[in-house]
């Protein structure tokens, strides 16, 4: 029996042993670091024969954020010497590519998908899952062309291949990212703008909407809020590295 502890949820993998074993190997350090038990919340994750590592990762993420007692928000998360940098965003906006570019630029990797904070305040969790990179992002990130995934495909990259893992620290920068042609720009914004940007990206705030609202305001209150405009993720990552590393 395989159990993982993710975001304070114990997830028991059941079903096809081969798919489970192959999946855990492919998920590398993310799965290895989660090999412990004892979380108050426990759920099963049935794994069918033929389940790919990418599908397993998606299901583990879904279960963790759905059942976590933490407030979980859709965001890329990296660390820098001053604290944690959060990029809230929905799927398809290039959040994972930007997160990967930031890690390659020297930021510490915490997650490409989830900001998970205790509802009563505290440090974000590290949820350092492998990053799924498609062919376009592969090229933009300057990764080995020989390993480039085929069109329409994605390849999971262990974060250690991009840079270093981050150490959770208080949230200090919230980036409201916009893609647009031209060079990268960083403009300070009012903290209020971050509140809807964060709350609308919450996975599980429905459990305690009022408490989640207050938690999000607390996050915004402790951070600087920035609008960042960029075309290519590595250019923005370079600008932010100059400023904050």
């Amino acid at each position: 029996m395989s159990q993982l502890s993710l975001l304070d949820v114990t997830i028991t993998l059941t079903g096809d042993r081969t798919a489970i074993a192959d999946g855990l190997v492919a998920l590398g350090s993310f799965a290895a670091d989660a090999r412990c038990t004892g979380s108050a919340t426990a759920v099963d994750c049935p794994v069918a024969a033929g389940t790919t590592p990418g599908q397993l990762l998606a299901e583990l993420t879904r279960l963790a954020v759905e059942h976590s007692p933490r407030l979980c928000l859709h965001a890329g998360v990296v660390s820098c010497p001053g604290g944690t940098v959060v990029i809230p965003g929905s799927s398809g906006l290039g959040k994972s590519t930007l997160t990967a570019a930031l890690v390659r630029a020297g930021f510490g990797y915490l997650s490409d998908e989830v900001l998970a904070v205790p509802r009563s305040g505290g440090l974000p969790a590290r949820f350092a899952r492998p990053i799924a990179v498609g062919p376009e992002s592969w090229t933009v990130l300057g990764l080995d062309p020989a390993q480039r995934p085929a069109d329409g495909d994605e390849r999971l990259i262990e974060p250690e291949h991009l840079g270093q893992l981050g150490v959770p620290a208080p949230v200090r920068h919230l980036l409201l990212a916009e893609r647009r042609p031209g060079g990268p720009e960083l403009v300070e914004h009012s903290r209020g703008a971050a509140v809807p940007a964060l709350l609308t990206r919450a996975f599980n705030h429905f459990r305690d909407p009022g408490g989640s609202f207050h938690a999000v305001v607390t996050l915004a209150r402790q951070a600087q809020v920035w609008t960042v405009r960029y075309q290519q993720a590595p250019e923005l990552a370079g600008l932010l590295a100059e400023r904050w590393l």
């Binding site: 009012s190 903290r191 209020g192 703008a193 509140v195 809807p196 709350l199 609308t200 705030h205 429905f206 909407p209 009022g210 609202f213 207050h214 305001v217 915004a220 209150r221």
Partner: protein, 94 residues
């Protein structure tokens, strides 16, 4: 016509720098008011008629009431329309 409003029940409020953040959990919506709209919000919880709110803000901002009346009315109308304010009940008068 005299208009008096109060904050709708259940609206959560947080001050954040000069902004005021409002949250309606029933529709899962956040509204962020800038400093001026936030002042309107604070004065529309049952104590004052709309004309009094206009007068008070005109004094604070040192502007003629005619200059801000429409803006204040517009903010109040929007907050009423979106359910953050409701018409005041008699009990809310302070």
């Amino acid at each position: 016509m005299a208009i008096r409003t109060q904050h709708a029940p259940g609206v959560l409020v947080e001050d954040l720098d000069s902004d005021v953040c409002l949250y309606r959990a029933d529709i899962d919506e956040v509204l962020v008011l800038n400093a001026t709209a936030g002042d309107v919000w604070r004065l529309t919880d049952g104590d004052f008629e709309l004309d009094q709110v206009v007068q008070l803000l005109a004094e604070v901002y040192r502007l003629p009431t005619d200059d801000i009346r429409e803006q204040v009315r517009s903010v109040v109308a929007d907050l009423l329309d979106r359910g953050y304010l409701v018409p005041a009940t008699d009990e809310s008068a302070g």
